[in-house]
C-alpha cells in the first residue's frame, strides 16, 4: 500500500522522531494521518501499518478498536463529535446530542446518505473549560448551544 508523497514524507518524519527500536510509538498518529487520507482504517491499512512499524497486526487492531477516533468505516465529510462526559454533561451536552440527532437525522456513528455528515457521541475531548464542546473533524467549537449548533451545521452546508 502506498500513500501520497506528502503523507509518505510526513510518516517518515514521524517515525524518525522516535528513538531507534521505539518506532511503534508512532502507531496512533500514523493511524490518524493515514485514516485522513484513506478515509477509514481498512484491513489493508492495518496490515500496512503493522508492517511498517514491525509489530503484529493484532497490536494495531488493539489500538484501532480502543480509540473512538479511529473508524473501521468511512465517516462523513464533516464528522461531528459531541462530548457527553461529565463537564459537558453538566452544561446539557445530552440535550445537545439529542438536538444534533434531530437536526441531522442521524444517530450515534451514523453517516448521512450523501456522505456529508456523520455524528458521534464521544468521550472527553479535553475542552472542559469551554463546555459543552464539540469537534468537527479537527476543529473545536466551544460553549455550543442548540442554536449555535444549527449555525455551525448551516454554515458547513453553505460551504458545500
Amino acid at each position: 500500500m502506498t500513500f501520497s508523497p506528502e503523507l509518505e514524507k510526513k510518516l517518515a518524519k514521524l517515525i524518525a522522531s522516535y528513538p531507534p527500536g521505539k518506532e511503534k510509538s508512532a502507531l496512533v498518529p500514523m493511524l490518524m494521518f493515514t485514516q485522513d487520507e484513506v478515509g477509514c482504517i481498512t484491513p489493508e491499512l492495518v496490515q500496512e501499518v503493522a508492517k511498517r512499524l514491525n509489530i503484529p497486526p493484532v497490536q494495531v487492531d488493539e489500538v484501532v478498536s480502543y480509540y473512538s477516533m479511529l473508524h473501521r468505516k468511512p465517516m462523513g465529510k464533516y464528522h461531528i463529535q459531541i462530548c457527553t462526559n461529565i463537564s459537558c454533561l453538566l452544561w446539557d451536552a445530552d440535550k445537545l446530542f439529542e438536538h444534533a440527532c434531530q437536526k441531522l437525522g442521524l444517530g450515534h456513528k451514523q453517516v448521512s446518505a450523501d456522505g456529508q455528515f456523520s455524528l458521534e457521541e464521544v468521550e472527553c475531548i479535553g475542552a472542559c473549560s469551554w463546555a459543552p464542546a464539540i469537534q468537527v473533524n479537527y476543529d473545536f467549537h466551544h460553549h455550543v448551544t442548540p442554536e449555535k449548533f444549527d449555525q455551525i451545521i448551516d454554515s458547513l452546508k453553505k460551504v458545500q
Binding site: P56, V58, D61, E62, S65, Y66
Partner: protein, 693 residues
C-alpha cells in the same frame, strides 16, 4: 552480590536482593499474595489489582507485583483494608463473569474460584444484566469464552514473549474488551495451547479437553513426551484409562511449564481407532488376527531356524522406544541371534561429535544451558519448528539475560526476531557462514553451539576445530529428531558400535544395506517404519514388525506384534542433550505389550538366556555397562533429568555422514507417529496459513 534488602512482611523479617518485587519476596518467605495478572518470567502488567498490599507510610494500597522491596519496608498482606480491597476487586471481576462453574472446564482448579472462596465475595452490588458474548472457536485447538475472561493479559504475554508468536491481542475497551486472535476470527499460530494452560479462569479452553471431565476425576501421570527429542515432561490427565489432557502446570521437568502442540495435545494417537490390539499373522497371503502365543511361537521358530543355518538377519530399532528396549534389542541381536546387522534412523551425527570431543569434560550442553549461557550459535536448524523447547529456552535466555544469539540457516527462522546476527547460507555451506561470524563470536565469554543434520562427518570436526580456535568455553548440542534418537545411539543400535560407543568386532549391515540385501532372511523392525523411505529388496524375507499401527512396514510384515505406546510403558529415554528421564505408564491399551516384554517373551520362547528383562534390571545393566550412563538413581527415580556423559575416549569407526538424514519435522508433523494424531492432522488441514517465522 549486592547487599540484601531487609523488610518486614506480616511481622516476619525477610531479606531479598535489591530489585526483587514484594510479591516475590513474600513468596520466598512462604507468604502467598494472590495475583491473576502477575506471572513470573513475563513482563509486568499490574492489571488485576488482586495483589494489593498495605505498606506502612504509603498512603494508598500498593500493587505488590510492581513494587520493588526497599530497606525497612513494612508490608501487610492480609490486613483488613487489603482484604476489603481484594473482595471489591473480586466483586468487580464477577460483574460480568458467568457463574457456570459447574460446567466450566476450570471448575475446581480455577484461580478466580479459589480467590472468591478465600475472600468470600458472595454478594454483589451490581444489578445490571451481565454482558454476554457467545463462545468462539479460533482453531481446532483453541476456544474462547469472552464473558469468563478477566483480562489478565497472561495469554497475550505467554504468546508474544514466551513463544515469540504474538498471535493474541486485546480489542475494544471497557466492558466490551476481549481477547482477539491474530487473524480476525481465527488463529494462525503454533497451536501450542500455552494460552489455555496459563489462563487463570476458563476463558480459553482446548478442543481436546473441553467438557471431557472434571479435574478431580483424573489421575495425573508425569511422563516424557514421545515426539521430538527435546524431552519435555508432560503430565497426562487420565480418566478411565483414557488420556484426556496433557500439560505441565506443576513446572516439573526440564521444560518447566513449556509444551508444544505435541506434548500438550498429540497424545490422542494412543486411542486412535486404527491402533493394533491383536497380533497379526500372514495366513494365505493376508494379515489375520492370531493369539499372542501363536504369533510369538511363529516368530521364535523362524528366528531359531534362520539362526541355526547362519542366515541373514536385519534388525531395525526405534528412535521412540525406551533405552531399556533398545539395549535389550541390541543384546538380543548380538548375543541372542549372533548378528551385528542392527541400525536405526539416524538423524544427527552424534557419533562424530562424541569422537571429536573425546576426553573433554563439560562440553555437552543441557537444556538448562540454553537458558543460562551468554551466547548461542544455531547452525542449520529451525529451532522453533523442530526443537520448540530449545527455541523457548533461548528466547527466555534473551528476555531475561540478554543472551546473544547468532543464526546460520538457509531461510528465516524465529530467532531472527532477537538474534544479534543472522547469516543465510545454502545447505552445505553453513561452515562458511559460521566462519564469517568469527570476529563477533571470539568476543563472547562462552558459547553454546546447536547444529542440525546438515553438519555431519568431517563438518562436525571442522565446527569443533573452529570453536576451539575461539579460545572460549564452548558446549555443544547435536540436534536429533525423536524422543529417544539419542538413546538409540547410546544404546548401540548401530552395526559398528555397541552400547556406549564401544566398537564391535565384525561390523554388520547398515539400514540401507539391509534393505538392499536380496538374501536377507529376516527383517525385524521394532517401532520403526523403514519401508516409508526404502523398498525391501529381499522378496522372501520374513518380516516381523512391532508396531502400534499398520504402517507401510507393518503392511509388508509376516507377523505384526501390537506394541504399547510410550505413554503405556515404564522405562527411560534420553533427550537431545543427553539427559536421561523416566517414562511412567499412564494408560493401557488392551491387547498390546511393551516392546521390552515382547522381546523378553521372544527370548523365552527361543530359550535364549539374555538375563532378566524387567525394566529395572535392564536399566541396572545400562547403568553398569553403558559408558556415560552411571547416573544417580534417585535423580531418575524422582522424575528429574540425569545428564549422561559419554565422552570417555575416541570412537574408532568410519563416519557415515551419508546415513544421516533428519526428517525435518515441523511443529505439526512427527514422522509416522504424527499421522496418527487427529489433533496434529486437524491443525494441518485447518484453513489458513500456519505460522511461519
Amino acid at each position: 552480590m549486592a547487599d540484601l534488602v531487609t523488610l518486614t512482611i506480616n511481622g516476619k523479617t525477610v531479606q531479598a536482593p535489591p530489585g526483587t518485587l514484594v510479591i516475590d519476596a513474600a513468596k520466598r518467605a512462604g507468604i502467598e499474595i494472590p495475583a491473576f495478572c502477575y506471572y513470573e518470567g513475563f513482563s509486568l502488567q499490574a492489571a488485576c489489582r488482586m495483589c494489593l498490599v498495605e505498606v506502612e507510610k504509603m498512603p494508598k494500597l500498593q500493587a505488590s507485583c510492581t513494587l520493588p522491596v526497599a530497606e525497612g519496608m513494612v508490608v501487610k498482606t492480609e490486613s483488613d483494608p487489603v482484604v476489603k480491597a481484594r473482595k471489591s476487586t473480586l466483586e468487580f471481576l464477577l460483574t460480568n463473569h458467568p457463574l457456570d462453574c459447574p460446567v466450566c472446564d476450570k471448575g475446581g482448579e480455577c484461580e478466580l474460584q479459589d480467590m472468591v472462596f478465600r475472600y468470600g465475595a458472595a454478594e454483589s452490588r451490581f444489578t445490571e444484566i451481565k454482558h454476554h458474548v457467545d463462545e468462539k472457536q479460533w482453531s481446532p485447538i483453541v476456544f474462547y469464552d469472552a464473558p469468563r475472561c478477566i483480562l489478565c493479559y497472561r495469554c497475550i504475554r505467554v504468546c508474544s514473549e514466551g513463544m515469540g508468536v504474538g498471535a493474541l491481542g486485546i480489542v475494544n475497551r471497557g466492558v466490551y474488551s476481549e481477547i482477539a486472535p491474530s487473524h480476525g476470527d481465527h488463529l494462525e499460530c503454533d497451536e501450542c495451547g500455552a494460552c489455555i494452560d496459563i489462563c487463570p479462569v476458563g476463558a480459553l479452553t482446548s478442543g481436546t479437553y473441553r467438557y471431557q471431565t472434571r479435574p478431580w476425576e483424573m489421575k495425573h501421570v508425569g511422563t516424557i513426551c514421545t515426539f521430538c527429542s527435546n524431552g519435555c515432561k508432560t503430565t497426562l490427565g487420565v480418566r478411565n484409562e483414557k488420556i484426556v489432557r496433557g500439560n505441565n502446570r506443576d513446572k516439573s521437568g526440564i521444560n518447566g511449564e513449556f509444551l508444544c502442540i505435541k506434548g500438550r495435545f498429540a497424545f490422542d494417537f494412543q486411542d486412535h481407532p486404527e491402533r493394533l490390539t491383536s497380533p497379526l499373522m500372514r495366513i494365505d497371503g493376508k494379515l489375520q488376527e492370531v493369539s499372542w502365543a501363536k504369533a510369538l511361537e511363529a516368530v521364535a521358530k523362524k528366528f531359531a531356524e534362520v539362526k541355526a543355518r547362519n542366515g541373514k538377519f536385519g534388525i531395525v530399532g526405534s528412535t521412540k522406544t525406551t533405552n531399556e528396549e533398545n539395549f535389550f534389542l541390541q543384546k538380543f541381536a548380538r548375543q541372542g541371534l549372533g548378528t551385528n546387522n542392527i541400525d536405526h534412523h539416524r538423524s544427527g551425527d552424534v557419533v562424530t561429535l562424541m569422537d571429536a570431543l573425546a576426553g573433554r569434560t563439560n562440553a555437552l550442553a543441557t537444556v538448562e544451558d540454553c537458558y543460562q549461557m551468554k551466547a548461542a550459535l544455531v547452525v542449520g536448524a529451525d529451532l522453533a519448528q523442530e526443537h520448540p523447547l530449545l527455541a523457548y529456552q533461548l528466547r527466555a535466555n534473551f528476555r531475561h539475560h540478554n543472551a546473544r544469539v547468532y543464526t546460520v540457516t538457509r531461510g528465516p527462522v524465529r530467532e531472527d526476531q532477537y538474534s544479534v546476527s543472522r547469516v543465510r547460507t545454502e545447505p552445505g555451506k553453513e561452515l562458511e557462514g559460521v566462519e564469517s561470524l568469527r570476529p563477533m563470536l571470539s568476543q563472547e565469554p562462552e558459547l553454546l553451539i546447536l547444529f542440525g543434520s546438515s553438519i555431519k562427518g568431517e563438518d562436525v570436526r571442522r565446527l569443533v576445530a573452529f570453536a576451539d580456535s575461539l579460545n572460549i568455553p564452548v558446549k555443544y548440542i547435536c540436534l536429533v529428531d525423536y524422543s529417544n534418537s539419542r538413546g538409540a545411539v547410546d544404546m548401540g543400535l548401530l552395526p559398528d558400535l555397541g552400547p556406549g560407543y564401544q566398537p564391535v568386532d565384525n561390523p554388520g549391515l547398515t539400514l540401507p544395506e539391509m534393505m538392499a540385501a536380496t538374501d536377507l532372511d529376516v527383517l525385524w523392525v521394532v517401532g520403526a517404519n523403514p519401508l516409508a523411505r526404502y523398498s525391501l529388496a529381499a522378496a522372501n524375507a520374513f518380516v516381523v514388525v512391532q508396531e502400534m499401527f499398520l504402517t507401510e512396514t507393518a503392511q509388508r510384515a509376516d507377523v505384526v506384534l501390537p506394541a504399547a505406546s510410550a505413554y503405556e510403558k515404564n522405562g527411560t529415554v534420553t533427550n537431545v542433550t543427553g539427559q536421561c528421564q523416566k517414562l511412567t505408564a499412564a494408560a493401557k491399551t488392551m491387547g498390546t505389550k511393551p516392546d521390552l516384554e515382547i522381546m523378553g517373551l521372544l527370548a523365552k520362547e527361543m530359550k535364549l538366556n539374555l538375563g532378566i528383562w524387567t525394566v529395572q534390571s535392564v536399566f541396572e545393566q545400562i547403568r553398569t555397562q553403558v559408558r556415560g550412563y552411571n547416573i544417580p538413581l534417585p535423580v531418575v527415580a524422582t522424575g528429574q533429568a540425569a545428564q549422561t556423559s559419554p565422552l570417555n575416549g575416541r570412537i574408532p569407526v568410519i563416519s557415515r555422514p551419508d546415513l544421516i538424514q533428519s526428517a525435518s519435522n515441523t511443529l505439526f508433523t512427527s514422522g509416522s507417529l504424527g499421522r496418527y494424531s487427529k489433533k496434529l492432522t486437524s491443525v494441518l488441514e485447518y484453513p489458513g496459513e500456519l505460522y511461519r517465522p
